[in-house]
Amino acid sequence: MPSAVRHFTTTLAESPEPVTDRRGMPPRRIARPASRITVGRIALYLGLIACAFVMLFPFLWTVVTSITPGGTLSQGPTLFVKNPTLDAYRTLFATLPMWRIVLNSFAVAVVATVLQLITGSMAGYAFGRMSFRGRGVVFGAYLATLMVPLQVLVVPLFIEMKVLTLQDTYFSLLAPSMASALGVFLLKQAIEALPRELDEAAVIDGAGHLRIFTTIVLPLIRPSLATVAILAFMASWNSFLWPLVVIRSPELMTLPLGLSALHGQYTTAWDVVMAGSVVSIIPIAVVYVLAQRHIIAGLAHTGIK
């Protein structure tokens, strides 16, 4: 793997030149022998394909193990299956209320994502576009919330939930991910990067903060919103320690808890665990592909035509 990585980093080191070379300029191509470009292209593609394989391999292995009868890990990863079977998936759906679990995870992740987009973009606007006293200190306080590890917050937060009698509810699952300083930070960066001239023009037209925010800023930061959406969704989707602590009812179980329950104290049915991993990866991959479209759509909207 390091060989692959090394190969891949050397490709990277060389890449900026040819890459920027080619960027959006068919009409006025700067002279370079066509053949060299082709060779570069082929190398680039080979590098990318190798890289993609290295990246995809663990996922492929997960899929393969999940359809191998009595799949174990003893032989190391392989991509060949004798007698593929979906038994592991049947076992998975028989032992766990998988539909419910996936639905729970999905609902919580979607709501957390939407909330973080709203809270994050608004705070990002406040920090990036408004001036008020103590702005730096408040932003620092936001960042400070990222600096204490979750492991140490879990117990106090659980006790707080118990006092508010909110433990073992959907709300308690959401509580710590309604706003994220990480998202605020990213969106503040994006908003600060927008040209000032835009809102100055809008102010002359008589627009207030709300209109500038919704009609000018939000559409322009779509790539960053999509990024925050991916991060927020992923964080919620993979969150383990907090749901473990706060949830008691099986009806509220989320995916990571379900997957963890597949590990026995002494032995583990790896084909079932891998089937569970596949089921847990697919929704998030779909979200990524959708969000990625928005990144590109955002590009179109910033008007590079």
């Binding site: 174990t72 890990l73 306080a141 006790i159 329950a261 026995g264 002494y266």
Partner: protein, 467 residues
């Protein structure tokens, strides 16, 4: 702005301080001191003294317990169920996870049928996450009425006041060494739920092919070593022996070599004695010679299980919980009592169940636990499903277990109990186990030597004993 933030933090801190103080009831009074029941299972705690229910060792919760139980005091534990004990109770556990959920549900059904006023809601968690969940629940005052513990964790929980005393427990159904293991100063804080032990599994087909005599209950370390060396064939990927390099093996081989883990009054770790060094070498020297190393994959999940199932491991030190996993391997295998050195000793592990000190339904919870640990319904379910063994004293009830065909020498499971040793336990159990694990694996990997690492670990453990 800064000052505001600080004030805010202070307010939050104060609030939480109040909450914490409010939530940790049940442990306000002096926790009972841990008993001196360390290594051996023969510490004779007077079981009968637990009738002294008025001594509320666990504060307010103890009062509730004694109040509720005095009304139920006349009822004999199993047969005639006291009609006045009712309620919905929660029970949290790990041992049914991964295959025995239905068996536990069957026991619950039988209990609810016999006790119409009580319903039991089971919450099952995987072992790896169980104690994280349990501790947080206790910290928040939301622990289940009854929960499961393994023997290693029992001491810290009982000495922290997290467990309610169980009044009027009838000790007669239980194996004496097991029920005594969960009494502290003569008071019962837990009931044995199940036990298992470690034996020597061997691949008979490999032994026969190599023309080596199969292990007997009289084997010593020297016999095991000689056989392991003959059976190891690295070219074919066949290994002679596998014994995990860990605390759970070490305390046992120490006993097999006549060593003591602690000194008499348990103020000092003594496992770095010459006997201890020799015992540690017995474990670590196997690595790489007759046993796969960490680099070969040892220690990764299910590595040893798969190696044995693939027919590439001749001898395997593991627990009787593996019988189920080996049900349909294509070769002949059997078990024997583990070889000793200067003496015989076999590792025994026990799970216990306890009532939470904060339970509002302690009487019903205790009733459920007594059923769970001593009823015939439980015995039959456990024996029929190959779950860990029931903790009962009447061995005639265990006949069904011995009649099952594989492995042929099932008797060894019980023979091993004649010299069973329970793991040494202290309050800082996990920290002690990690220190010893590190010392042993470091030596096995050649990064350090037993002579250096074991005394260092002993010093660490001694400092943990000081609190």
């Amino acid at each position: 702005m800064n000052r505001n933030r600080i004030r805010l933090l202070a307010a939050g801190t104060g609030l939480l301080a109040l909450l914490l103080a409010a939530c940790s009831q049940g442990s306000a009074s002096q926790p009972p001191s841990p008993a001196g029941n360390d290594t051996t299972s023969s510490s004779p705690a007077p079981v009968t003294s637990s009738s002294d229910t008025a001594s509320a060792a666990t504060g307010s919760a103890g009062d509730e317990t004694s109040g509720a139980s005095s009304s139920a005091a006349s009822s004999a534990p199993e047969s005639s169920s006291a009609p006045q004990v009712t309620g919905d109770i929660t029970y949290m556990e790990f041992s049914s996870n991964g295959g025995h959920e239905k068996d536990l549900a069957a026991i619950v059904d039988a209990f609810e049928k016999a006790n119409p006023g009580i319903t039991v809601t089971v919450q099952t968690l995987p072992y790896a996450d169980y104690f994280t969940k349990l501790q947080t629940a206790i910290a928040g005052g939301t622990a289940a009425d009854a929960f499961e513990l393994d023997y290693q964790h029992f001491v810290s929980y009982s000495s922290s006041g997290a467990l309610a005393e169980l009044p009027n427990v009838d000790a007669t159904p239980y194996k004496k060494s097991l029920i005594d293991a969960f009494a502290v100063d003569g008071k019962q804080f837990g009931l044995p739920e199940s036990f298992s032990d470690v034996v020597l599994f061997y691949n008979k087909t490999l032994f026969d092919a190599a023309g080596v005599d199969t292990p007997t209950d009289d084997w010593t370390w020297a016999d095991e070593k000689a056989a392991a060396e003959k059976l190891t064939d690295k070219a074919k990927g066949v290994w002679g022996d596998y014994q995990p390099i860990s605390y759970n093996e070490f305390y046992k081989v120490l006993a097999q070599n006549g060593g003591q883990f602690f000194n008499e009054d348990k103020t000092k770790a003594t496992f770095d004695s010459p006997a201890g060094i020799e015992a540690a070498h017995w474990l670590t020297d196997k690595s790489g010679s007759v046993m796969p190393t960490a680099a070969d994959g040892a220690g990764t999940p299910d590595f040893d299980t798969n190696l044995f199932k693939d027919g590439k491991l001749a001898m395997w030190h593991t627990g009787i919980w593996m019988f189920g996993a080996l049900a349909d391997v294509p070769f002949d295998w059997d078990i024997a009592v583990e070889p000793g050195n200067t003496t015989k000793a076999s590792a025994m592990f026990a799970n216990a169940v306890a009532v939470s000190a904060s339970s509002k339904n302690a009487a019903a919870a205790q009733k459920w636990l007594e059923f769970l640990t001593s009823s015939d319904a439980m015995v039959n379910t456990r024996l029929g499903s190959g779950w860990e063994l029931p903790p009962i004293g009447d061995e005639s009830k265990l006949g069904a277990y011995l009649d099952q065909p594989k492995p042929a020498n099932r008797k060894a499971v019980f023979d091993a109990l004649d010299n069973a040793v329970l793991p040494p336990t202290i309050e800082s159990q996990q920290e002690m186990q990690d220190a010893i694990d590190d010392a042993l694996t470091g030596a096995a990997a050649g990064n350090t030597t037993v002579e250096d690492s074991l005394p260092a670990a002993a010093a660490t453990v001694t400092s943990l004993l000081g609190g």
